[in-house]
């Protein structure tokens, strides 16, 4: 007696719409893009070239997984691009001073540094209650400025082959390490989101007060999301450094690409809903789109323009209430013709 038939019907519709609305479209989009790539470039699915595509996409996919954690908890992390740049430059400078440092140690050091940046972001946002948008924007500017000051705009130092092989090399001669990194990050992210941490993270993003009253340590959970995002950014930095080498622009714009990817994956800005796999699929889609545009001869300079359209369209379509639009259309909007 609590539910009547109409609400039952609407619930079913809402349920189907919900599933389509958050996850499914990005998989469809990805499939369409991959099909389009196959048509444009028949060689695309040669194992080598396909693995190379994944390798190129890997940093963004890893960043998207980290960004997802923060967005789903109700925040933003704008600092990840700057963390990538800082990571690449710091690695190069470090090898400039200690050319024989073992690559594993340097990689671990960078990951730790990324985690610390995330920790600072998280603590400032949750303890000092500075909105994460501002905190991480500030962190981005601080890191960018520091890198520029440190290097004078042209970073010195050469990364040794051992360090770079993670981003450019292959395991067993054919499987790129970057692909393995992607898979590992995906597996960890899925496991995390199914764990107590992930479920409480979603609940916190959905309703912070209810979560706190249920005993969730909201500041800790939120901070952990930033730590994960910072660590993911540092891992992306290692891949980017291996793949493209040293540059003071290594991570430029990656924060927005990561947010675009997450939004494309149907994750709701403001928190509480979305799947991490869909967010990573969003990153693949974005990379596939850039590749496709490249193959079609569209200028790379237009990438950010395309990205802008995508972000607005994805959020706009996600927010649009089509039933209302339909009703409005069917309703004659006459004025005050009272009878």
């Amino acid at each position: 007696m609590t539910t009547t038939t109409p609400s039952a019907t609407t619930t079913v519709f809402a349920g189907v719409g919900r599933r389509l609305g958050t996850g499914a479209p990005v998989y469809v989009l990805l499939a369409v893009l991959l099909a389009a790539l196959a048509i444009t470039d028949p060689g695309f699915y040669e194992p080598d070239s396909f693995l190379a595509f994944i390798k190129r996409a890997a940093p963004l996919v890893i960043l998207a997984a980290g960004q997802y954690m923060v967005i789903v908890s109700g925040g933003f992390d704008l600092s990840v691009g700057a963390v990538v740049t800082a990571g690449v430059v710091a690695g190069a400078e470090f090898y400039g001073s200690y050319p024989d440092a073992p690559w594993l140690l340097v990689t671990a050091g960078l990951l730790l540094a990324g985690a610390i940046v995330g920790l600072v972001n998280g603590l400032i946002s949750t303890v000092l209650l500075v909105p994460s948008f501002i905190t991480t924007l500030g962190m981005m500017l601080i890191l960018e400025g520091a890198v520029f000051y440190w290097t004078g705009g042209s970073p010195q130092g050469v990364l040794p082959e051992s360090f770079r092989s993670f981003g450019r090399g292959e395991a067993g001669g054919w499987l790129p390490w970057a692909v393995l990194a992607c898979l590992a990050v995906g597996a960890i992210a899925v496991w995390l989101m199914r764990s107590d941490f992930g479920r409480t993270l979603l609940a916190t993003g959905d309703n912070e007060r209810a979560a706190a009253l249920a005993g969730v340590r909201v500041p800790r959970v939120r901070t952990l999301a930033f730590v994960l995002s910072g660590t993911a950014a540092a891992l992306a930095a290692v891949l980017v450094a291996g793949f493209s080498g040293v540059s003071a622009q290594a991570g430029r714009g990656l924060e927005f690409e990561a947010i675009t990817a997450v939004v494309l994956g149907g994750v709701i800005l403001g928190g509480g809903r979305g799947s991490v796999v869909a967010a990573m699929a969003g990153a693949f889609s974005l990379q596939a789109l850039f590749t496709l545009l490249n193959l079609q001869g569209v200028s790379g300079a237009l990438e950010s323009t395309v990205q802008g359209f995508i972000v607005i369209a994805a959020v706009g379509l996600g927010a649009a209430d089509f039933s209302r639009l339909r009703r409005r259309r069917s309703q004659p909007s006459e004025g005050k013709s009272s009878s």
Binding site: P6, T200, A203, A210, A214, G215, R217, S338
Partner: protein
């Protein structure tokens, strides 16, 4: 004056109104009651022109109307006061009243005419606490509601005013003001359709009561000739039997599970109470007397800063909800959507939230089915998002969430607010069962019949202190006497 004849309406092929008829006389307050989903709101939206009926007619003062837009209904003299106000907080009362219809003089808004007319309307309603130039944000909720009503009156020559749960946002003492306002409107010949869950109000105000169930009209009763029992029976279509489950016998009441001595904070003082296993303790008091502050202090959400507290025999004055939960305390808050549930998460994730957050053992999802069965949840599976559940079922999910953590002390703040009659009885039964299972239960409720029906004893709060204790079955008068005794000495008589 107003007749709705055989109104039917379907959505997506599902009929939600089956030939409902209703009539309204000038100056009559006609109550419309029914459980959630009975069709009250749909019927009123048909009347207000928001939905076009599939069948049936609306006749107002002898004219048959077919509204296809709310503006037409408004022009014909039908005003609708929604539960949520549509006011601009940073604009003045007069600006809100004439929003979108500002009088114009030489191309400019004629502020003086606008304010003069607003003042006239306010005067007609004997409303002296509002001036046309007051900013809406500076008004109390009750006064904002008055502005909504004035807005409806200014829009046209209102013949029919529909009020949807008008007392829901109001504090207790503001309800009387609304009653007076409604009676004045009725005295001017305006017919009022009054939707409410609260039968008390319905009996206080209405001349007739129409009961809807599952989109059909069950009956139209003359208020003076009927009883609350009869109305409830019509609403749920069955005997609810005795409203409340039997109280605990003396042998069922066990050891103290929670005690406080001299506890207080900035809102509470001298709180001495004991909650026992198996016992349901009610807390009564007027709005602002500190009832909610008390449960929040016991739960560590707005902690005590003074005094002593024990939980299951150990000293524990919780400084955070987490500490309270670890100690075995649970709180079902009054604001279910704001504080009780993560609405976009599934039934399962909500039910496991506390265990996951505090005990870190949420992975054992197998226990969920048992929990939800325990609270008798009706949902479309455990993956359904809780936002799509009815209020009663949402409340059951909240209770399940706490039961998962195995609490010894359960605090309920307004446990049945916004819950329909059938689910209400289910929650009452559940609460009593939990007490019988050996938990200590404390209930805060502003519905005195509920408090009296459920409690084994009643503590009355006034001014942040416990003003006194009453035994089971105390009358409403006794409670109100203690609650309103302004010179009540903070003696803390509970124990």
């Amino acid at each position: 004056m107003l007749t709705m004849q055989d109104v039917s309406k379907s959505f997506l092929g599902v009929r939600v109104l089956h030939g409902v008829s209703l009539d309204l006389e000038p100056g009559e307050v006609h109550a419309l009651v029914g459980e959630n989903g009975a069709g009250k709101s749909t019927l009123m939206k048909v009347l207000a022109g928001e939905y076009a009926p599939d069948e049936g007619t609306i006749t107002l003062d002898g004219t048959v109307h077919a509204f296809s837009h709310p503006v037409q209904a408004q022009a014909a003299g039908i005003g609708l006061i929604h539960q949520e106000f549509a006011l601009l907080p940073h604009r003045t009362v007069a600006e809100n009243v004439f929003l979108g219809r500002e009088p114009v003089r030489r191309g400019f808004v004629d502020r003086r005419a606008m304010e003069r007319r607003t003042a006239e309307l306010l005067a007609e309603l004997d409303e002296t606490g509002i001036t046309p130039r007051t900013l809406v944000k500076d008004l109390s909720v009750a006064r904002q509601q008055t502005v909504e009503i004035v807005k409806a009156l200014a829009a046209s020559d209102v013949r029919v005013l529909v009020m949807d749960e008008p007392t829901a946002p109001l504090a207790d003492h503001e309800v009387e003001l609304l009653y007076a306002l409604i009676r004045r409107l009725a005295a001017r010949g305006i017919g009022i359709l009054y939707i409410s869950h609260r039968l008390r109000e319905v009996f206080d105000l209405s001349r007739r009561i129409t009961v809807l169930k599952d989109g059909r009209k069950v009956a139209t009763l003359t208020t003076a000739d009927t009883t609350a029992d009869e109305v409830v029976r019509a609403m749920v279509g069955r005997e609810l039997g005795s409203y409340y489950p039997p109280r605990a016998g003396p042998e069922e009441i066990g050891e103290p599970l929670l005690t406080t001595a001299g506890a207080g904070n900035e809102r509470l003082a001298g709180i001495d109470l004991t909650l026992r296993a198996g016992e349901v303790t009610g807390v009564a008091g007027l709005q602002g007397s500190g009832r909610t502050s008390l449960v929040r202090a016991l739960f560590g959400a707005a902690p005590f800063t003074r005094g002593h507290m024990t939980v299951t025999g150990r000293a524990l004055r919780p400084a955070s909800p987490r500490q309270a939960i670890r100690g075995g305390i649970a709180l079902v808050t009054e604001d279910r959507k704001g504080e009780g549930l993560a609405l976009r998460q599934s039934v399962r994730d909500n039910a496991l939230l506390v265990t996951r957050a505090v005990h870190g053992e949420g992975a054992q999802a197998g226990g969920v089915a048992g929990l939800l069965e325990r609270v008798n949840l009706r949902s479309r599976g455990h993956d359904q998002e809780v936002q799509y559940l009815s209020g009663g079922n949402q409340q059951k999910v909240v209770i399940a969430k706490w039961l998962a953590a195995g609490p010894r002390v359960l605090l309920f703040d307004e446990p049945t607010r916004g819950v329909d009659v059938g689910a209400k009885a289910a929650i009452h039964t559940l609460v009593r069962e939990l007490a019988r299972d050996g938990m200590a239960v404390l209930i805060v409720s502003s519905e005195l019949p509920e408090l009296i029906g459920m409690s084994d004893r009643i503590l009355v709060m006034s001014d942040g202190t416990l003003a006194g204790e009453l035994p089971a079955g105390a009358g409403e008068e006794d409670i109100m006497r203690l609650a309103t005794a302004s010179d009540a000495t903070p003696e803390g008589s509970a124990a």
